[in-house]
């Protein structure tokens, strides 16, 4: 939305905004906690409130055509885009494309936690959507793997919902999340953070029953004799995000295999002129305020590519 609005402000006459969900706002809709907008709006907003500020502006601008429940399935190097919307496969030819496709979560399988395959293991962001948008509580006793911001936020959220959050387990020496989240999400609720520890096994038939935790040394090797068990019925995995750039790859752009981000000379750029990637699809951000700032730049860059600002 920030890119669309900035492109319009820079003189682009016709913008199509595709959203696969039935509402605008993306991941902000499930981030119901406060802390957004301190830089952008000088106010502490929740995710939905932050999104709402942009939704209002987008709806006021009739040159931005919003297509909801629209899933982009194909992009070519000539900027021909195909997308599915209810009842139709649409094809459009754009002069410039901005991809704001965000990230997927890394999963349990990607960090190789051994053990059985019981129910009750969720990516933290999925659990966030369940709790905040669907009203489902995933379990009664939870262990959180990884101390990224989503894991910390979910530790607090689950604790508030009456779930016993046993621990947050982090393999590194420091939390990957913001310090303020360690304080207000863990310390406020008395949730222990085990640094330099890893979950070495998930046990359970049908449902998670317990996890094994072990301390690791500076080389991330297990320290013999340091293991202990935590009984739980739920494991939330918060171990990082992977930029979603399949469309870009389909279009023939160069992708860094290690980070899944576009290989390019600078922020928002891709190896295809006129195709831009902004927000978490470009690089993983800590703060939505910076996503907005850089996405506004993406909108301006697209406008410049299309022939510069109109006088």
């Amino acid at each position: 939305m920030a890119a669309a609005l900035a492109a319009r402000a820079a003189g682009v006459k016709d913008v199509l905004l595709l959203e696969r969900d039935q509402h605008l706002g993306g991941i902000l809709n499930q981030c119901i906690h406060p802390g957004f907008g301190l830089h952008q709006f000088k106010a502490e907003l929740t995710g939905p409130e932050y999104a709402d500020r942009f939704v209002r502006l987008v709806k006021e601008d009739h040159a931005i055509e919003v297509s909801l429940r629209s899933f982009a399935v194909k992009l070519t190097g000539d900027k021909e885009l195909s997308y599915l919307r209810p009842g139709a496969l649409e094809e459009v030819k754009a002069r410039s494309v901005i991809l704001a496709t965000g990230c997927r979560e890394r999963t349990r399988e990607m960090i190789h936690i051994p053990g059985s395959r019981p129910a009750g293991v969720y990516p933290a962001g999925l659990a966030q959507k369940m709790v905040n948008m669907e009203g489902w509580i995933p379990g009664r006793e939870a262990v959180i793997v990884g101390s990224g911001d989503i894991g910390l936020i979910m530790a607090r959220r689950m604790a508030l919902e009456g779930v016993s959050v046993k621990a947050v387990i982090e393999i590194q020496k420091v939390s990957r999340g913001l310090v303020r989240n360690v304080v207000q999400c863990l310390e406020d609720f008395g949730i222990p953070l085990y640094l330099q520890h890893r979950v070495s096994m998930i046990h359970g038939r049908g449902r998670v029953e317990k996890v094994d935790v072990v301390r690791v040394d500076d080389e991330l090797k297990d320290i013999p004799g340091s293991g202990f068990e935590l009984a739980c019925d739920t494991v939330l995995v918060s171990v990082g995000l992977i930029p979603e750039n399949e469309l870009l790859e389909m279009a023939g752009a160069e992708i860094d295999r290690r980070t899944n981000t576009p290989v390019a000379a600078g922020v928002n750029l891709t190896s295809i002129p006129g195709v831009f990637a902004c927000g978490n699809a470009c690089k993983v951000y800590d703060l939505v305020d910076w996503v907005t700032r850089d996405s506004e730049l993406a909108g301006k860059m697209a406008a410049e590519y299309l022939g510069g600002p109109l006088s």
Binding site: I32, T46, G162, V183, D188, L287
Partner: protein, 120 residues
């Protein structure tokens, strides 16, 4: 008594060093802005947190409505606030800022909608 504290007023997370006598703040250092000093004072006197959660809806376009307290409430009241809002079901369309429940727990803060929701 001297103690250390991490400021949570913004994502910078300054490490504050403060001196306090019970619930009276004597001095604070390490804060990069004046909000840090205000945070330290509040945290020593009576810690406050903005309360956010989702409440059930019926007949609206989403199953849950995200809500917040219109201003921070005492930290120790968070669980009581959760119990109170679990009894709420929103059945009428709301706009962002609509008061869902006035004067939550008599604390002087309203429970307000964080987004608009129309009828299904």
């Amino acid at each position: 008594m001297k103690r250390a504290m991490t400021c949570i007023a913004c994502p910078q997370g300054c490490l504050l060093e403060l001196e306090a006598d019970g619930s009276r703040l004597i001095s604070v250092s390490g804060n990069k802005c004046k909000r840090g000093a205000a945070y330290a004072r509040q945290e020593i006197e009576a810690p406050m947190r903005t309360f956010t959660t989702s409440v059930l809806t019926r007949g609206l376009e989403l199953k849950m409505l995200p809500v917040r307290s219109s201003k921070p409430i005492p930290k120790e009241k968070l669980f009581e606030a959760m119990d109170a809002v679990k009894r709420i079901t929103v059945t009428s369309p709301v706009k962002a800022g609509t008061v869902v429940a006035p004067d939550l727990l008599g604390l002087g803060a309203d429970l307000v909608a964080c987004r608009g929701l129309d009828k299904l």
